[in-house]
């Protein structure tokens, strides 16, 4: 019974530490989040009576109709719109009526030769503003009210930080309580066992039972006995060799397999934000996957389709998680990455135009098939209709893109053996599928039965 005290020690330590941990964590849950929207609401209310419009309504209208080209405090495709009404009145002497007319039919005004219309048209690279004849005067009032509201900048930042400590905990509560309870129960059990054991010992001593220590010591040490048993030695040796061979094989087989490879990229591009939070379809950017062997890394002009107007990262509605913050993924960090894109593509944010000085981005390639293996994306994406995630994993959850699948030949072959060929509605397969499925006596042919395991299909 040498070992018993030892085990006890472990369980004691474990138990105690768990209890301590539990106590500490529970103490944190007393807080409750309730601060979130207060600041912003307050800010909006404060200016609500400044004009006839309703800034809340105006905000939603602004986001629907204007935000693609305008921001409040920043030049984009069109001018910054904060306090546009008062500014126009002060600087140009234009009243609200002018604004109504402009918003409802700007091309018409440019045509008619209105001086300021023409000026602003030329100032913004002759990019005509879409006419909004459907907006009522009241709608425009609402929008203008929103633009006249003081920018709610400071408040969300405070709200954000208040936010995140709360939300991070909220998901953890139930799990940790359970764990804590378990730990307590476990600790109690250990204690009981220890007590039972010592009680038994005491009883044994009291009854004069001699524990079998001496007899055990007379035995030949186990290693000697082992060494003397040649059969055992042989068997063990074989097992050892087999075991090491198994591990050696395993190790060798992972040479050149870069599963999990997640290199640092020149721009921290988050698939989680794009494909996950914003639910952008994979093939919007990787469009050549439909028609080509390459999935294609999108060229920078594709990025600029959206990032012309998305110039800063505003964070997910719940604010950055603790984990994100720990990694330094703040809103500012992401905005900085967008600036890297602007630099690469040569986009002058100030003047909203391309400078022409571009610098291609050298991404680090993650999925590297060997040159002797031919792989065609369109075969899998367009013809077979396989989801990108099947091979690339949960990309929409990847903050940093990594290689999800091993990309080994065994992995390819396994899938070809299991996957049925998608033949519905594809006339190419009509004849061959009818004949082959009859030959093999199956309803659905696998890729392998279609010839997908032949060497020459991928190696040439």
């Amino acid at each position: 019974m040498k070992k018993v005290p030892y085990r006890n020690r472990i369980s004691k330590v474990l138990g105690v530490s768990l209890i301590i941990f539990l106590l500490f964590s529970i103490s944190l849950y007393s807080q409750e989040e309730a601060v979130a929207e207060n600041a912003e609401v307050a800010a909006e209310e404060g200016t609500a009576d400044a004009s006839a419009g309703d800034p809340a309504k105006g905000k939603s209208l602004f986001n629907q109709n204007c935000a693609a080209c305008h921001a409040l405090n920043r030049k984009m495709t069109g001018p910054a719109l904060a306090n546009v009404e008062s500014k126009l009145a002060e600087e140009e002497g234009l009243d609200k009526e002018w604004l109504y007319a402009w918003i409802k039919n700007s091309p018409g005004m440019i045509k008619s030769g209105d001086a300021y219309s023409v000026k602003i048209y030329n100032e913004y690279n002759q990019a005509a503003m879409t006419a909004f004849p459907t907006l009522s005067d009241q709608d425009i009032d609402d929008i203008l009210a929103y633009t006249a509201a003081p920018p709610p900048e400071a408040a969300p930042a405070v709200a954000g930080t208040a936010d995140d400590s709360g939300s991070a905990k909220s998901s953890g509560i139930s799990n940790e309580i359970l764990l804590g309870a378990l730990a307590v129960v476990f600790g109690l059990l250990v204690l009981m066992l220890f007590l039972v054991n010592s009680t038994l010992r005491r009883i044994a001593e009291a009854n004069g039972v001699v524990l079998e220590k001496e007899r055990a010591e007379k035995r030949i040490p186990i290693w000697k006995a082992f060494a003397q048993n040649q059969f055992l030695v042989l068997v063990t040796a074989i097992f050892l060799l087999l075991g090491s061979a198994y591990f050696a094989y395993g190790w060798m087989m992972q040479v050149g397999v870069d599963q999990g490879y997640a290199p640092i990229q020149p721009i921290h591009y988050s698939h989680k934000i794009h494909a996950g939070d914003n639910k952008i379809e994979c093939k919007y950017c990787h469009s050549s996957a439909r028609v080509s062997k390459h999935s294609g890394i999108p060229s920078l002009n594709v990025c600029m389709n959206c990032h012309k107007s998305i110039y800063e990262y505003k964070g997910n509605p719940e604010g950055p998680t603790k984990e994100d913050l720990a990694n330094g993924y703040t809103n500012d960090f992401y905005t900085g990455e967008i600036k890297k894109l602007y630099k690469a593509v040569g986009w002058d944010e100030e003047n909203q135009r391309y400078t022409g000085e571009s610098q291609p981005i050298e991404w680090v390639r993650i999925h590297n098939l060997p040159d002797f293996a031919y792989f065609n994306h369109s075969q899998h994406v367009s013809v077979a209709g396989i989801e990108c995630q099947t091979c690339h994993g949960p990309v929409e959850e990847m903050e940093i893109m990594y290689q999800y699948s091993p990309l080994t030949m065994g992995w390819c072959v396994e899938c070809h053996r299991d996957t049925n060929v998608k033949v519905e509605g594809n006339e190419y397969y009509t004849k061959i599928h009818a004949e082959l499925s009859k030959k093999y006596g199956v309803d659905q042919l696998t890729a392998a039965q279609m010839g997908g395991l032949e060497c020459g299909k991928c190696h040439y």
């Binding site: 290199p263 060229s299 002009n301 004949e435 032949e454 190696h459 040439y460």
Partner: protein, 1048 residues
Amino acid sequence: MASNKKYWKSEAELNPNDSIVETLKQNEFVEEIPVDDFLGDRENLSATTTNRRDFLKYVGFSTAAASLAACQGPVRKSIPYVVQPENIIPGVANYYATTIANGFDFASILIKTREGRPIKVENNTEAKVGGSANARVQASVLSLYDSTRLQGPLANGEPVEWDALDAGVRAKLGSLKGSGKQIALLTQTYASPSTSRLVAEFKEMYGDVNHVTYDAISEDAALTAFENRYGERALADYDFSKADLIISFGADFLADWQGGGYDSGYSKGRIPKNGKMSRHIQFEANMSITGANADKRVPLTPMQQKVALAKLYAKLNGTSVGGEIGGAEQALDAAVAQIKNNTGNAVVVTGIDDVNAQSVVLAINEMLGSKAFDSKSPKYSRQGNTKAVNALISDMNAGKVGALIMDGVNPMYTLPNATDFASGIEKVDLSVVFSTNWNETTEVTQYTAAANHFLESWGDAHIKKGHYSLMQPTIKELFDTRQFQTALLGWMGRDISYYDYIKETWGTFVLNGNDWNKVLHDGVFVASYNMTGDPENALGQEDKETSDATTTEESASDSSVLPIASAVRSLVNATSGGGMELTLYSKIGMGDGQQANNPWLQEFPDPITRVSWDNYITVSKADAEQLGLVNEHVANGGMDGSYVKLTADGVSIDGVPVIVQPGQANGSVGLSFGYGRKVGMKSEMQTGVNAYSLYQNFNAVQSVTIEKSSEMHEFACVQLHKTLMGRGDIIKETTLEIFNTKDHAEWNVVPVVSLNHQEVPATTVDLWDSFDRSIGHHFNMSIDLNACTGCGACVIACHAENNVPVVGKQEVRLSRDMHWLRIDRYYSSEDTFEEDNTKKEEFDGLSGEKGSLGGFGELEHPATNPQVAFQPVMCQHCNHAPCETVCPVAATSHGRQGQNQMAYNRCVGTRYCANNCPYKVRRFNWFLYNNNDEFDYYMNNDLGKMVLNPDVNVRSRGVIEKCSLCIQKTQKTILDAKREGRPIKDGEFQTACSSACSNGAIVFGDVNDEESKVAELAESNRMYHLLEHVGTKPNVFYHVKVRNTNEA
């Protein structure tokens, strides 16, 4: 605790300033170990024996290095476009229609580009004229990526800016205006409406401008004869598909005769249909591929050819002339009889460089009313005027030329009187040459304007009257280069791009209201309006003026009104000039030599001699014996040949290697142009001798004397001078008569084998069980030996498509050539294969008169006038492949679609498969040919690598490779159909060779598709497989060659 004691090994170390010690601290050795010296020196390396211990060291080191390298993959970058061009999708090829018009080759072609890089030339099947790319055109895409190209303009050999060059040229041209000195333009044949217009405008601007068109290999005689007869400087066109009887006097019309491009028409008439095919009689001196394809070939020296032509004319007119042509008289009589049967279906052509001969031929064809002869819409692919060239050179020497601007020509290399030119150019105030490479001419000119490759240029061509073709760039200029026309526009102060200029020209003169964009898309345009009063008259004027100016007086007295009778008379009186008659010719691989720096073409084996990396003098066996010239095979399997010294008219070249050529007319020798270039060439490419120095008076026939020199030349010959030795079963051949009258069992004999003591056809016996191949695609390839002319376009197409490496002369000599597709050339020892067969069958016993010992030896020697057959051989993709069963690692296996597949990454290089292959089509990579400076061709530099096909693996050292039936192309076709959800139509499946073959000799397709052409061909009674008795069941099949030997 460490002590502060200083230890030292030598006194020098105590001296702090000792440089050796300093070096030793950083390196183990003071000097760099001369590893390159002993590893790079091939001769020494093969001489020294690496001992066992060294070998083990190498092995140990490389194993360790390999395992280290395997543990960590390299970081690979992936760089997308900043702004992706709309029509480029990475991984998807784009095709553009364009035109090659380099003065020697004129063809409408398609260019396959990947990610903006041109990588392959395809035929433009839309084009009715010049739509087929020959071997040189196929290879031209590699010349774009030549690492020795000029990267910017030069002045006296030093790099300058274009601005400086422009300023210099413009100032000089301005000062020459009205100075009395002429401005000369010496250019290639453009046949370009826009360039003609531009040059005319240039003339208008500068007044005394002399535009001289110069063809390196002149067709002046034919042009003059045509001009005298029809009033236009052009070449008659021939459509051989309409001819039943073709008689040629030294015209190598399946190669480059009068601009070439006649082979597809010829092949159409050669496939027996309804018991009929054309008959082709060839009178020639050198064994050309045209002669090799002829039904009857009569070796005659050039002088005799002239006499024979005169006799033909006389016999057709019922008269007779003198002159002696020996046994050829009989052949001529038979030909005349055949012509008289059906005059309209016969055509006569000649390649004799003689205005009289060319005039007589035009007269004969007109007299016969030949349907194949077309003088109404002639070809413009040769415009060169030799008299004007000579006049220009004398003007230059006389100091009458103020400026000389050259484009597309290399006169210092191609002129026989290059020294005159060199002395003349020194007296010219301003000389500019447009050139893609540093060459003999750029050396002597002041300004070298780095020119575009044609794949970077805009342009147009009027190849044949009414048939226009557009050239568009398929890639932006790789270097700081300009095309001639753009520069000329700049010098004229015109603020218009050459593209706009062409568009303007076409809009005004050519298109006649047709849509420019559509024409640009198609690449070709056929004018449908009435040709009288057409733009050519306006456009062609400037050319005509020059030729008129220089030739009027002479030609008036010389030949223009020369009646045909006197032409015939002068032909009869032709004399040889005493010595051997040398006929200079252009090789299919090298042409006029402008692409001499192209390794694909250098390694391309000549169809007849099968020699690569060389030109040589061809000598008949009788003459060789007389002169003591030999070809011998040496121990390592290579062939050596004697050297001779050739002297013609005081000019001599030494060190010309000799090939004893079966079929060469006695008393004649042949030598090809295009070799012997030295300046600006990589050392590996400096091959052969320059035949242009013997091209006196631009006459391809010269009288020469031959002296034997010492030493032997080492040839790189891929197939030695062996004949079929009566083994007709690799090539099956019959005559039209037998083909029409006898059952196919007689002329397409299926070999029999013994099974259960009974003779059964070999095709019915199997060692293996057959797979069911009736489902899905099953690819077959058909090769018609009748339609194949041996032109070799497929060989280069295969090279380009499949990233086949170039191995160089040394390696080819060691039989390590890598061509996946070879065109075997077989001679039959007797005049016909039948005679060979009979002789073999009559062997009786070992020795004696009919003994096989002597008999076989005799059969090995091709006769003086052998019959020739070409046979393209690639992997036969046997259904019962011997290679597959012997591979110890299952690297080669069979696909359900019929391909014999080769997984390079699995191959360990035992070469069992190559040894077990009955067709010898498997190639072994003895070295790493890419990224290896020992093989300095194109795969070792970034520029050259741009031509590689990204869909095909670049093989490494130590693996076997071979034809894959272009599985990358069939897979793409299948994928496209799958994506579009449709069945595949016949004709969509193509291989590189089948799509390159404009002769229709190679047909590829799915034999399970009953509608397909290949399925129909597989059922033909001419179909046979190579070596049927081996039982390999190949998926490539051949069609029995039929020769039309009907004498009557």
